[in-house]
């Protein structure tokens, strides 16, 4: 007879989402499926009726729209997983360790979310895949993006699996339902010995080191997709790659602060997820936001000062034209978000309020989405060639597709939490004891 291990109090608490399934989970799953259904319906409608149902058009109007802005947004969030997890491991930031898996999972859901958006943006996704793989050229930024995203996703998956393996082995000993066999198989014979733990730690350390440059390359490539477009005013500049990476860091960390605070509150894990880590993440976010504001200032001052004709047209549409209604609120929002974080961590640090940091992070996330939109659309509506002026307004189908992808991301995150511990478990998995 095999003995099952009795979990200690901390483990039971951290495994509560795995061990207990409340009505809320089923309701949330149903709502999630309905929301993902929006994406499926939009995809079908585009295949059946063509891209004319979206607001996108060419050569008059914008050939890229809400989908592409959202792709950049989700790719940005996917930075944070390895950024936090690898950073914590390489720099020995032990207080960040409980948040590592929360961050890693953001990478694992946001990368596929971005791929879903790429798929829906392409008219014939199977042709895109086959033609890129069959005829892809070394000088094509989309070939680079296909390569780095594939590598980043696989490497991050393996990183997540290896860091999760110990908890999977423990879950096999704690869980009493049919999932036990699944966990046992998934653990692939993991025995929580000193030797195995050391091997895993060492391997993960080196994997983290390799993943950091891959992580930087993913968003650099997206910056280059825009920055190498000599024919688009407002895009062609050498700082697009670092600007995008910085935006991704800000975007990712803002999302992590929000998700971490939400998980902490939802499950009552204040004891396990200390507020110090969120404070330090908020502090880092405030400095990165300041740097992002500096980059933005440099960009817009350059656009405003003595721009060539194409850039002047883009600048006019941003500062006083059709996009000023998004631009100015976004810039003000960025400033407010920064000061909320800055004052909460520094001047008023003795009166630190978690909700202020979270609210600042939410605001920054919304602003970053708006700035992704402002990077993509205005340049497309102000071409260098003398085409008639066009307009772009996202249609209900595009919004439905985007909401569907958000639903997928939230649903995939919740589903993971249903099967695997979202915080590293403190208890060691004991070797199985067979009696009789």
């Amino acid at each position: 007879m095999r003995q099952r291990q009795k979990p200690d109090k901390a483990t039971t608490d951290l495994m509560r989402p795995v061990l207990v399934t409340g009505k809320l989970f089923y309701i949330a799953t149903l709502i999630g499926l309905l929301i993902v259904g929006l994406y499926a319906y939009t995809f079908y409608a585009q295949i059946a009726q063509g891209h004319a149902i979206t607001g996108q058009s060419t050569p008059i109007g914008a050939v890229w729209g809400l989908y592409v802005a959202s792709i950049v947004f989700f790719i940005g969030i996917s930075h944070v997983g390895i950024g936090v997890s690898a950073g914590a491991r390489l720099l020995n930031l032990h207080y960040l360790k409980p948040y590592a898996r929360i961050a890693e999972l953001l990478t694992m859901v946001c990368l596929p979310a971005a791929v879903l958006l790429i798929t829906i943006d392409i008219g014939r996704p199977e042709r895109f895949l086959i033609n890129v793989m069959r005829y892809g050229r070394i000088l094509a930024p989309f070939v680079w993006s296909a390569a780095v995203i594939s590598v980043y996703f696989v490497a991050s998956s393996i990183y997540l699996y290896l860091s999760l393996r110990r908890d999977i082995a423990l879950s096999a000993q704690v869980v009493t339902d049919k999932r036990r066999a699944f966990y046992k198989w998934l653990a692939l014979g993991y025995k929580d010995t000193e030797e195995e733990r050391k091997l895993h730690d060492k391997t993960l350390w080196w994997l983290a080191l390799v993943l950091i440059p891959i992580m930087v390359s993913v968003h650099s490539v997206y910056g280059l997709v825009f920055g190498l477009h000599a024919g688009r005013p407002g895009w062609f500049n050498p700082f697009m790659a670092p600007y995008f990476v910085l935006g991704a860091v800000v975007n990712g960390f803002a999302t992590l602060v929000v998700v971490a605070a939400l998980v902490r509150w939802l499950f009552g894990w204040q004891k396990h997820l200390g507020v110090l880590a969120i404070r330090n993440l908020g502090r880092f976010l405030s400095w990165m936001t300041l740097l992002y504001m500096y980059f933005s200032l440099a960009e817009y001052v350059t656009l405003f000062y003595t721009p060539p004709a194409g850039e002047a047209s883009v600048a006019s549409s941003l500062f006083t034209g059709e996009f000023s209604g998004i631009f100015w609120p976004a810039m003000i929002g960025l400033g407010i978000g920064y000061f909320m974080l800055f004052f909460n961590q520094t001047i008023f640090r003795n009166q630190f309020k978690l909700w202020v940091t979270v609210a600042g992070a939410v605001l920054i996330d919304v602003v970053l989405f708006a700035t992704r939109y402002l990077i993509v659309i205005p340049s497309l509506l102000n071409p260098l060639l003398p085409y008639p002026e066009g307009k772009y307004v996202p249609t209900v189908y595009e919004w439905a597709g985007l909401i569907g992808v958000f639903g997928f991301a939230v649903g995939a995150y919740a589903l993971f939490m249903k099967f695997f511990p979202i915080v590293e478990l403190p208890q060691a998995a004991e070797p199985e004891v067979t009696e009789g």
Binding site: M133, Y135, G136, V151, V154, H200
Partner: protein, 65 residues
């Protein structure tokens, strides 16, 4: 056995990635002709390299009893 698997993985991955990269470089820049599927080999080569950490941790060395 473990070392043999990892070494084989390394050789296959590097060969695939290298042949893919060279194929992409040699592809006709204007017409995109020749050396088809090079991009796939390049990506598959890179991706399979990351199976090595998994093999390092999952494959247990054969112990002589």
């Amino acid at each position: 056995m473990k070392k043999a698997i990892i070494l084989t993985n390394l050789v296959v991955s590097v060969t695939l990635a290298a042949s893919g990269l060279i194929g992409m470089v040699l592809r006709d820049p204007l017409l995109g002709g020749g050396y088809e599927w090079s991009t796939l080999r390049w990506i598959v080569g890179l991706v399979t390299l990351f199976l090595i950490p998994l093999e390092l941790c999952v494959i247990k060395p054969k112990r002589n009893t």
